[in-house]
Amino acid sequence: MSKEKFDYFIKGEKGKYEVVIGLEVHAQVLSKSKLFSGSSTKFGADPNNQVSLIDSAFPGMLPVINEECVKQAIRTGLGLNAKINNYSVFDRKNYFYADLPQGYQISQYKNPIVGEGKVLLDMPYGSKEIGIERLHLEQDAGKSIHDMDPSNTYVDLNRSGIALMEIVSKPDLRSPDEVNAYIKKLRSIMRYLGTCDGNMQEGSLRADVNVSVRKEGDTNFGTRCEIKNVNSIKFMQMAIEYEAARQVELIENGEKIDQETRLFDTKKNETRSMRSKEDAHDYRYFPDPDLLPLKLEQKLINDLKKSLPELPDKKKERFVKEYGLNAYEANVLVSEKEISDYYEEVAKLSDKKLAATWMMGDLFAMLNDRGLDISKSPISAKHFAELVQAIKSGEISGRIAKEVFEIMVESGDNPKKIIESKGMKQQSDPKELEKMINEILSKNKDKVDQYKAGKEKLFGFFVGQVMKLSGGKANPQLTNEILKKLLKG
């Protein structure tokens, strides 16, 4: 968080190149059943067990839309500050593939349900707005399995027909870091809204990445390549880096960049042309005659708008204002809805600023070490607040608090119980402390004389002795005060 100027450029021999990136994110809609059929969307079922006659495109089968998927798309659109279109149309995107049973994907082409919107990114060099071009609903395809048999491909249609939201950004992203921030922000917004679980391992969030390069200062876009179906942020970043370098090299060698679809090979860390798909790229979109135009009443949109939860940007503002956090702290604490919920629960019961410091320090480090989400934290928000309060009130010192924290993690006990049973309470009784300090001073007369003669460094030595004698429990502030007073006398 130290850099203050954007400086992601590819350096070629003939100059610096800017990388222009646009993303088409495919986010799986959170719903119980599929977009046009009543089969379950649950992940991990036995092959072909969540497939209806509609999902497998039997003759005469017809789609009926799931109202919740429509609402989820609207909610997401509202979360992206986007225009919700009262009139949208479902189209057929025609192509042949073994895991596409209908021979077409029902999608939205000319009239998507959501129009232009925007997403704000917090970058080290300031906040940056990324434009959203559109969001539309579409069906997912099934899964082709190529490695079960040397001569055959196996097809599982469990995923076939699950609702996806395709969120298309404008070509506003300029670096792998911005892509990282963008995906995380989108994911965060959708998780706040409850419209997509954002689980990248299970394929709930994937993206097609459009990359082009241009000389720094150029205003025209270069020829872009689309890298299909990348399923982790790390791979997106690697693919962009590779692809941008490849394009710069082509330009510098005076060669032409073909506008094409490419695939990112994660093993070789390179992008490759998918020419075989290129031939069939004529999707022959047309309005699906099995469906009617989707006309949304403004009341439905307004009602959904009213019921939206507070989203990260708003929440961040509030955290700064209400809790006195700095922008960085607020940003971290609103990044996930669960984190912000945890923080707010802690902040309600304890010192707000101290709670933020301890959460972002020890708590996050512990969760990170253990690979846990905050929802699985071994320390409840209530207990964590008690710990923060114990520090704040001077009941325990920061150093002791770290020990208490460790015990809390292991035992799940509340901090009060730990502090009491282990006698970890801070010594804050001035009389007791004075007695203890007098004892130390009388044992170390030589050092006291040296101190009084001007060797003030020795102050630390006395503090150390107090801590040693008290088993670390002496209240540091009080100890200082009393020591100073007695050493003067």
């Binding site: 006659l53 497998s56 495109a57 039997f58 003759p59 005469g60 089968m61 017809l62 789609p63 009926v64 839309i65 057929r92 025609n94 042949f96 073994a98 049973p101 209908q102 021979g103 077409y104 491909t153 097809v155 004529d282 022959r284 979109y285 047309f286 699906d288 005659p289 099995d290 469906l291 009617l292």
Partner: protein, 485 residues
């Protein structure tokens, strides 16, 4: 008693009610007819054992509160029937056994009827003569060498030959009305959305409608009442109260305004068709209806529009027949793409392939605006023509077809002349309106000819009423000699 199978559905129901015949005997009589009519090739699959079981069950516990009590019915092989092979007239579905029942057939069974067999049709309902079926031509009982119309050719043939008391077809551009006209029977294409499309093998989703094919208007009303209704499984199904078409059938049409569109008098139209139309006008006028000249200026563009919209939708609807999950799969495919190409090449017939190619082309990059989008604009104009006219009239009277049944093979080498057969029927599909074809006379060869009544959306009752009055006063009698048995 006399041969029960040449009676109307309504009379058969009356006879069943009066115990003059049992459902079992009725079913046996149809089975006998079907077995002696193999030459007509109207059936792809028969379900006699199952039908007899159902008939016996009915006779044991008859329930005459239903609309179709104990009635055996054969249906077009485009309706998916649970555990009964459903081919859509195609090789690509030659072994396909659905695990589900279409909503329309389920409605029929729920009203007391049961399946007698599956009727031949043009492959994926693409045809006007039943010559594109993988399962062979169907013969029109009117004459040995005649086509029965299409695509519901098996349905019209079986009905006219007394192989089923009534039947159902599907109509995308005339596939119920044209075969009805060619066989001297009644055919109704309902308002788009009145009958559920769920479980019907799709041809062109925005045009397809299932409808009844019967011997009389009353039968037509009974069948429509049985098969129609809101279905939440079809997003294009209209949610409205069910109507009692047969109970509300009235033959008083005094004061109704009948539009006569000048654009339906096409160039080179046979004189007989014109005469038939004149006859129809006179009958309606004599019954007290008022004839009003109207104009539907974009009529001429309906067929070109149809031949963009229907193939475009079909090219996409038929993409699912890829040999992966059901149906025919070529043995030749080494890899996935080759498997697709061979499967679809071997599985589809020439007409279907032709239409898939047309549809693929008109949607493809660079051509979409010039063809598909243009057609959807013209479709808007065609719909508007009807909307404008229907502000001043109750129904429209036109001929059903530009000619009577033609000979097998006569038009197979000229797709456009085949397509022109649907010139009067197609506009209605593009506008989503109901239309009835009713037998009105014969040409000089003695082949039946039909007139078409077009109604406002959801105005089925009115065109049935007009048809009912017309039928009583027309004096048409379908004289079919059973030359095949």
């Amino acid at each position: 008693m006399a041969d029960i199978t040449n009676q109307s559905l309504n009379d058969i129901i009356e006879n069943l009610k009066k115990k003059k015949v049992s459902s079992t005997d009725l079913t046996k009589a149809y089975i006998k007819n079907i077995e002696s009519a193999k030459k007509l090739n109207a059936f792809v699959t028969t379900t006699f054992d199952q039908a007899l079981d159902k008939a016996k069950q009915f006779d044991k516990k008859p329930n005459f509160d239903q609309l179709l009590p104990g009635i055996p019915l054969a249906v077009k092989d485009l309706f998916c029937t649970e555990n009964i092979k459903t081919t859509a007239g195609s090789n690509i579905l030659n072994n396909f056994i659905p695990s589900y029942e279409s909503t329309v057939t389920k409605n029929l069974w729920d009203n007391g009827s049961f399946l007698l067999g599956k009727l031949n049709c043009d492959e994926f309902a693409m045809g006007s003569s039943n010559e594109t079926s993988h399962y062979g031509n169907v013969i029109n009982p009117v004459g040995d060498q005649l086509v029965p119309g299409g695509s519901s050719g098996g349905s019209s043939s079986a009905l006219a030959a007394d192989l089923t008391p009534a039947t159902i077809g599907t109509d995308t551009g005339g596939s119920i009305r044209q075969p009805a006209s060619f066989t001297g029977t009644v055919g109704l294409k309902p308002t788009y959305g009145l009958c559920s499309r769920w479980g019907i093998v799709a041809f062109a989703s925005s045009l397809d409608q299932a409808g009844p094919m019967t011997k009389t208007i009353k039968d037509c009303a009974i069948m429509l009442e049985s098969m129609s209704g809101f279905d939440e499984k079809d997003s294009t199904s209209i949610n409205k109260k069910k109507e009692q078409y047969s109970k509300n059938l009235k033959d008083n049409i005094k004061g109704l305004k009948i539009g006569i569109p000048k654009e339906y008098r096409v160039d080179n139209m046979p004189k007989e068709i014109d005469e038939l139309w004149e006859k129809g006008k006179k009958i309606l006028k004599d019954l007290g209806a008022q004839l009003i000249d109207i104009s539907l200026p974009h009529t001429k563009y309906a067929l070109p529009t149809y031949y963009i919209v229907a193939p475009a939708e079909a090219s996409s609807n038929l993409a699912r027949y890829d040999g992966v999950r059901y149906g025919y799969r070529s043995k030749q495919g080494k890899d996935l793409i080759e498997m697709y190409e061979k499967t679809r090449s071997e599985g589809f017939g020439d007409e279907v392939k032709r239409r898939i190619l047309i549809g693929t082309y008109v949607l493809s990059s660079g051509y979409y605006d010039a063809y598909y989008l243009k057609a959807q604009k013209v479709r808007q104009l065609i719909k508007k023509d009807f909307d404008d006219s229907f502000t001043k009239i109750d129904a429209i009277l036109t001929p059903s077809t530009p000619s009577s049944a033609f000979k097998i093979g006569e038009k197979t080498n000229d797709p456009v002349s085949m397509y022109l057969n649907d010139i009067f029927t197609v506009p209605v599909n593009l506008a989503g309106l109901p239309a009835l074809s009713l037998p009105a006379g014969v040409d000089k060869k003695g082949f039946p000819l039909g007139l078409q009544l077009i109604g406002k959306a959801l105005d089925e009752q009115k065109i049935l009423n007009i048809g009912y009055a017309f039928e009583k006063n027309c004096g048409f009698k379908n004289e079919i000699k059973k030359w095949w048995s």
